[in-house]
Symmetry: C2
Subunit: 208 residues, 2 copies
C-alpha cells in the first residue's frame, strides 16, 4: 500500500508531532513538517491526504488529531515490542539506545549462543540463551526481531526465528537472508551506507 519512503516520512512526522504535543503546540503547517523530512509541503500534504487526515486552510493541521491518525496508520498507539538476537557490541548498543526514555520501541529480551553473554541484564533487558528463544517467542507472542549476530550465524538464526513465528526482521548482518514470503526483512547495511556517504560527499565536492 504505502511505499518505503512514505513510511519513512510518516515515522518522522510522528516523532515531530509527539514533540509538538509535549510542547502543547496545537497546530502545524505542512511546510514545518516538510522541513522535518526535507521535502516540499506538497509531498507532506499528499502523505497526510493518503492516510485520510485533512487540515484546514490557514489553520494547518491539528497536532493531536493528526498524531492519532498517524498512530492509527502504524497500528500502534504506544510502545512496540521487539527482541534482539546477538548480544555483542551492536546488540548492547541498540538495547541501550532504545532504553532511552521517550522511545516507543521496547526491547523485551536479548538472546545469544554464548553463555558468557546470557543470564545478564543490559539496559533493563534480560539476555537469555538462544535455546530459550522458541519458548519465549511463543509465550510472549512477539513478532519482530533485530538480528545482530555475526554474518556466519545470520541465516541459521533467521531460520530459527522464522520457525518460531517471527514475521519481521531488522537485519544488521551484511547477508541477504532467505525467508518465506510471509516474513519481511529490512536490511541495514552499514558498510553500504558509509560508501554512499563517501560517494555523495565526493560528488558534492566536485560540483562545487
Amino acid at each position: 500500500l504505502a511505499s518505503r519512503k512514505t513510511i519513512e516520512r510518516l515515522s518522522l512526522y510522528r516523532r515531530y508531532l509527539k514533540m509538538l504535543k509535549d510542547g502543547r503546540i496545537e497546530n502545524v503547517y505542512s511546510h514545518k513538517l516538510a522541513d522535518v523530512v526535507a521535502e516540499t509541503p506538497a509531498v507532506v500534504r499528499r502523505d497526510l491526504m493518503n492516510i485520510g487526515y485533512s487540515g484546514s486552510p490557514k489553520l494547518g493541521y491539528k497536532v493531536n488529531e493528526l498524531l492519532s491518525k498517524v498512530d492509527e496508520f502504524f497500528h500502534s498507539k504506544d510502545e512496540v515490542k521487539v527482541i534482539i538476537v546477538g548480544v555483542g557490541n551492536l546488540g548492547r548498543a541498540l538495547m541501550q539506545y532504545f532504553a532511552m526514555k521517550g522511545s516507543n520501541i521496547k526491547v523485551i529480551a536479548g538472546f545469544d549462543a554464548d553463555t558468557r553473554k546470557t543470564n545478564r541484564v543490559i539496559s533493563n533487558c534480560h539476555c537469555y540463551h538462544i535455546n530459550d528463544l522458541p519458548k519465549f517467542v511463543k509465550e510472549t507472542g512477539v513478532t519482530n526481531s533485530i538480528i545482530t549476530v555475526p554474518e556466519s550465524a545470520a541465516q541459521i538464526t533467521t531460520d530459527l526465528l522464522v520457525s518460531t513465528g517471527i514475521k519481521g526482521i531488522l537485519n544488521f548482518s551484511p547477508t541477504r537472508l532467505k525467508v518465506p514470503t510471509d516474513v519481511y526483512v529490512e536490511d541495514v547495511d552499514i558498510t553500504m551506507m558509509i560508501e554512499r556517504t563517501i560517494y555523495f560527499s565526493m560528488e558534492n565536492s566536485m560540483r562545487t
Copy 2:
C-alpha cells in the same frame, strides 16, 4: 548523477564481486547479480551499462574487469578512511564491526568529550579527546565522519566537524543536522527502520 538506490546496488555488486574474485570465479551473469540486490536482471544490466561496462552475450560479465569498473566508479580501489565521533556503545560497536578483516572501511580514530572514554584503543582504533579533533582532521585530511553522539550533542558536533573540513557525515542520531550545501549527511534512523519493519511485516501478515 547516480541515485541513492543505484549507489546501494553498486555497493552490493561490489561486495559480491569481491567474493567471486576470491573464489577465482571469472564470469557472472546479470541474474546472479540480480539475486544479490533483489532486483530483475534488466535493472542490473542497466546499472552496469550506466557505469560504462559491457558484458557479452552467453559469457556474461568478467568479474575482474567489472570489479575494477565498480571500484573506479566509487573512486576507490582499496580502503576508505573515516573517523567516529562518540565512543559510546554504538561507536565502539562500529569500530569493532569495521575492524573485521575484509572490510574496506578503516576507522582511523575515535573522539569523545568524556575523558573516561579517551586515550584508549578499541579494536585497533585510538580514541582521542574531542579537543584534538580539528588538528587530527587537518593533519590526516580525512573527509568523512560517523556521528554516534547523543541527540543533544549532535548539532554542535556537526558544526565542529564542518568547521574542520569534513564533507560527509553518517549520522546515527535522530536529528536532522543543519549543514552547508557542500556537506553531505546520510541519516541512519534506527527507530524509523524498526517501525518500517513492523509496518511491512503486518502488511505481509494481513495480505496472506
